[in-house]
Symmetry: C2
Subunit: 514 residues, 2 copies
C-alpha cells in the first residue's frame, strides 16, 4: 500500500506492530491508554540499592532471552555502558535481545560481534556508521525501527516500545538511586532522553562511577524510578562525551548559506520579543545562530527560549539576556554542562517534554525557528537524513521530524553538492521528514521557500532575498554533476522510518550493491 507521500509500504512487516501508513504530519489521532508498569513496593528495610556487579544486577532483574534492553546516549562517543552491558549479557549466554538505545555512536562498533552472534537480533534505536553498515548488509533478520527523539518518547509512553530493562549511565548518583548528569568525571549535563526509560521500563538499573552522599542535589532522575545501582570504575571516556567547544564554520560557502538563512528569519516576522530558536551543533547552524544573535543584540530583542541539544553558543546568549531560559534535552559541550550546573534559567527537560506529539503539548509546538540539515531534499521538500547516496542506512533521525513539525519556521541548510553528490533530488531515496513541515531550503544558490508558504515567499520577495525554486536547484545540480542514475534496490526491508506519531513514513530497502 502507499502512504500519503506515495511511498510504498508493506501491509505488514516482520516483528513490527500493525502498520499504520503515514497520513500527514498532524492527521493521526492515537487510541488507547498510556503504557504502565507493575506496582512496586519498597519498604524502609531496604536502605541501599547498590549491587556488586552488572552481572548480579542482570540476574536480580531476571533478564532473559528475547527481552528488550534500553540505553541513552548522553555519553555519546565516550560511552562505555552499552558495550559493557551487551558484552556481559553475551557472556551470560542471553540471546535474541531487542536493543533500544536512544542513539549509537562509532564507539559502539564493539557490539557488532554481539549482533553477529545472536545476542542482539532486533534494534529499535537511532544508529551510526559501523552498525548502520552492518544493517545495510542485511545482518539483522528484523528491520531496524528508527524513531525521532519525540517519536521514541511517544513509543515508550504508548507501549509500542516496551522496555524490560533500562540501563542508565549515571555520571553521579547515590546509593538509593537518585541520578544526576551534572557531576562526576563523565558529567554529561542533561539526561533528557533517559527519563522515559526510567519512567516506563519494567526494571531500571543505573550504572555509575561516582557514588555521592545520599541524597544527591539536585536530583535529576529520582530514586522512585530506579531498582538497582551498580558502581563501576568508569562509565565513559570524558574526551568522547562532550567536545571542548563547538565551532562556527569558516567556509565561505557555508557562511553565505548561514547568512541567507538568517535573512529569511529576519523577514519572517518571528524575530521579535519572545523569539525562540533551535539549531544543532553543526558549523552552518552555529553560524546562523551567530547572525541571529547579532540581530537580537542590535535590535535589542529579548528572546524567550533556546531549545534542544544545547551548545556554549546558546549558553552565551542566555548569559547575555538574549534568551530568558534554555530548555536542554542534551548538552553538546562542556560550557552547556557547566551552565546547567550553575544557572537556574538553564533547565533540563525530558524527551517527552521536548517533542512527544502525544501528550498535552510538547515544547517544539511553541518553537519559532529551527535550523536543520539534510542528506537529501526533494521537489516536495521531503527530507532524507537517514540513508546515503549508496543506500547505506547510517544516520538516525534525532529531533529532525519533531522540530520541523513544531517550529513556525523550519529552515533546512546545506550546500547544493557534497563532493559530487547533489543534495537536491527529484524524489529522496528515503523520507525522514515530510515536506509539509519544511518551510525553506537554503543553499549557496539561494533560498527555496516551500510553495505552501505563500506569505513567507511574499515577505522574502519584498526584502529582495535571492529566491530560487527546487526545480531550478535540481537543474543546476544536474548540470554540474549529471543526473544521477536510480539506485538499484533489493526487496529486502532493512529499516522502518517511523514518523513521530507512530505511523510509517517510509521503509528502507537494502541496496543491491553494498
Amino acid at each position: 500500500m502507499k502512504n500519503s507521500l506515495g511511498r510504498e509500504i508493506p501491509e505488514s512487516i516482520k516483528g513490527y506492530k500493525p502498520v499504520v501508513p503515514f497520513r500527514g504530519a498532524f492527521n493521526y489521532t492515537p487510541e488507547g491508554k498510556y503504557h504502565t508498569r507493575k506496582i512496586d513496593a519498597t519498604y524502609p528495610t531496604k536502605q541501599t540499592k547498590v549491587m556488586n556487579s552488572i552481572e548480579d544486577a542482570i540476574r536480580e532483574v531476571e533478564l532473559t532471552d528475547g527481552m528488550t534492553v534500553s540505553f541513552h546516549h548522553h555519553l555519546r562517543n565516550g560511552d562505555y555502558v552499552v558495550n559493557t552491558v551487551i558484552s556481559t549479557l553475551s557472556k551470560m549466554g542471553i540471546k535474541d535481545l531487542k536493543l533500544a538505545s536512544t542513539a549509537l555512536f562509532p564507539i559502539h562498533r564493539d557490539i557488532i560481534p554481539f549482533i553477529k552472534d545472536g545476542t542482539i537480533t532486533r534494534i529499535e534505536s537511532s544508529l551510526n556508521g559501523p552498525v548502520g553498515r552492518l544493517i545495510t548488509e542485511g545482518f539483522l533478520e528484523y528491520p531496524i525501527v528508527l524513531r525521532s527523539h519525540g517519536g521514541r518518547a511517544r513509543a515508550i509512553y504508548s507501549g509500542d516500545l516496551e522496555i524490560d530493562v533500562a540501563f542508565i549511565a549515571a555520571p553521579s548518583a547515590d546509593i538509593y538511586g537518585n541520578i544526576s548528569g551534572l557531576y562526576g568525571p563523565s558529567a554529561c549535563g542533561s539526561l533528557g532522553y533517559a527519563f522515559s526509560d526510567a519512567r516506563h521500563a519494567k526494571k531500571v538499573i543505573a550504572i555509575t562511577d561516582t557514588l555521592l552522599e545520599y541524597p544527591i542535589s539536585p536530583i535529576s532522575i529520582p530514586q522512585t524510578e530506579v531498582d538497582i545501582m551498580v558502581k563501576v570504575d568508569q562509565i565513559g571516556d570524558p574526551k568522547g562525551i562532550v567536545s571542548g567547544t563547538t565551532r562556527i564554520t569558516k567556509d565561505p560557502t557555508r557562511l553565505k548559506i548561514a547568512e541567507m538563512a538568517a535573512e529569511l528569519i529576519k523577514v519572517s516576522g518571528l524575530l521579535k520579543d519572545g523569539f525562540s530558536f533551535q539549531t544543532g551543533a553543526g558549523g552552518i547552524s552555529l553560524a546562523v545562530a551567530k547572525f541571529v544573535r547579532d540581530t537580537l543584540r542590535e535590535k535589542k530583542i529579548k528572546g524567550s527560549f533556546g531549545l534542544g541539544g544545547i551548545t556554549g553558543y546558546f549558553v552565551d546568549m542566555l548569559k547575555e539576556g538574549l534568551f530568558r531560559t534554555l530548555l536542554d534535552v542534551q548538552c553538546f559541550d562542556l560550557e552547556a554542562v557547566k551552565s546547567l550546573r550553575e544557572n537556574a534559567a538553564h533547565q533540563e527537560i525530558s524527551a517527552d517534554f521536548y517533542a512527544n506529539p502525544h501528550n498535552k503539548g510538547c515544547i517544539v509546538n511553541m518553537l519559532d525557528t529551527v535550523i536543520l540539515g539534510a542528506t537529501e531534499i526533494d521537489l516536495d521538500f521531503n527530507v532524507n537524513v537517514n540513508t546515503e547516496f549508496d543506500g547505506a542506512l547510517v544516520h538516525g533521525i534525532g529531533g529532525h521530524q519533531d522540530t520541523a513539525a513544531g517550529a513556525k519556521l523550519t529552515i533546512v541548510v546545506s550546500p547544493l553538492l557534497r563532493g559530487r553528490i547533489p543534495t537536491v533530488a527529484e524524489r529522496v531515496l528515503t523520507v525522514t521528514t515530510p515536506g509539509e513541515t519544511i518551510d525553506a531550503f537554503v543553499s549557496e544558490y539561494g533560498i527555496a521557500v516551500n510553495p505552501r508558504r505563500e506569505e513567507l515567499i511574499q515577505r522574502a520577495k519584498e526584502a529582495n532575498l535571492p529566491l530560487i525554486t527546487m526545480e531550478e536547484l535540481l537543474n543546476i545540480a544536474n548540470k554540474l554533476v549529471g543526473k544521477p542514475d536510480p539506485l538499484p534496490l533489493t526487496n529486502k526491508i532493512i529499516g522502518i522510518i517511523e514518523y513521530r506519531d507512530g505511523t510509517v513514513i517510509d521503509v528502507v530497502r537494502a541496496p543491491e550493491k553494498v
Copy 2:
C-alpha cells in the same frame, strides 16, 4: 472482621473499594499495574491553552454528575480556588461529585452549602474543623476516606482514587500550562502535592492569577500535563497562605518536652554526619529542631537532608551548612518560599517521591528522625490524630503514617494533658498510625520508649534519660483527671482511616452525641 490491631472493620463499606484489613506496616504487597490515562495528542495548531472562565473550562472537559474533582492545599487557609470551583460547579447544576482535595482548611467552610445541596456527596480528602463537624454530624451518605500524603499519592498511582478533573491553583504559569509556585502574589513555593493529580487526572485545569511570558522558568508542573489554563483575578489571599514566620514555643512545659526529645535523638546514635530530619511547624517540633541544631553546630556534624513541610528554621540550617539539601513537599512560611526560589540545594519534591510506599523507594524510607504530634497515644503506642475526645472527626493524617513508617527514630511529643483531656489512653479511639512504627512518646513526665526498641531503651538508660512507661503515664493521667468514660458511639461509619498502603487501619463511627 478484625484487622491486625484488633480493630473491628466491616467486610464491605458503601462506596469504597473491597476492604483489605490492615496487616502490619510493611506486610502488604500490592498487585496490578499503575493507573494510566488516555493518550493525548497536541499538535502545534494549538498555541494557547487559556480559556475565558472556569465555567468554560468545566464545559470543555465535559465535567458531569458523579465525577471526581481534585485540588491541592498549598494555598492553605488563603485558598480561593476550591470555593470558587465548587460554587461554579453547583451553579452549573452538577451533582454527586467526589471531592478529592489534598487537604481542606477553615476557609473551605464555604463549601458546606454545596455538601448540603448534593453538589458534593463523597469526600476522599484530608479535612478540617468545619467540614469535619458536618461529617461527624452524619451529613455525608458515604464515609469520608482519609489518607496520608504518601497514601494519597499511592491511591492515585494505583487507581484507587481516579480523578476525572484536577484543578490546580497555580501561583504563576504561562499560556501553555507550565506552572510554578515560586512567583506571583499567591506564591506558595512547592507544589509537591499537586504532581500526582497532574500526572494521573483525566483532565487538568490550572487556575492562575499570574500569567507570565512563555515559557516560565523554572518549570514545576509541566505543560505536558495541563489541558486548560484559566486566568482569574486572584487565586488566594497571601495572608492565609504562608505565615510570615513560624515560632518556637516559649511555654516551659513544652520546652522541657522538646529538650527531652532532643536528648533521645542524641543517644540514639543517629546524630552523626549524614543525619536527616523532619519536624512539623508546631511549637514543640521547632523547639526540638533548635536543640538539634545546637548539637549539630557544637559537634560540627553535617546533616544530609531536611524533609517535609519546610520552615524558615530548616532554611537557616541549610544556609548554615547543617543540611546539604532540603526536600520540600510544602512550604510553611515565606522564608521557605524564598529559599526554594533562590537556593538550588532546596529541592521541590512530589508526594510520590516524599512518601508513596508503592514505588521503587520514597524518601521517608531514608529518614533518620521525625518529630510528630498526637491527639491520643495508647499503651500499644498506636496514635490517633484524626478524632477528638468527643468523637469529632476534624483532623487529617498529613505525613504522620508515612514518616513514622519510614524514619529510623519516630518520636511523638505532646503534653500529657490538654486542658482536662489526657493524651495517653488505654486504647485510642481511632488508630491513625500503628504503634509498631512509633519509637517513643515524650511528655513532660518523661520518655516512654516502645518496648520493641530494646536497644534504644538500653541507650536511654545508660544516658540516664528520664524513662517512663505508657502504663505509668496512664496512671498519672487517671489520677489527675480521672479515668475517662468510654465514648458512646453509633454504628454509623462516617470515616475510613486508610493506612498508607491502602489497607484499612480503622474506621470512625459517629458519636451518639454530636
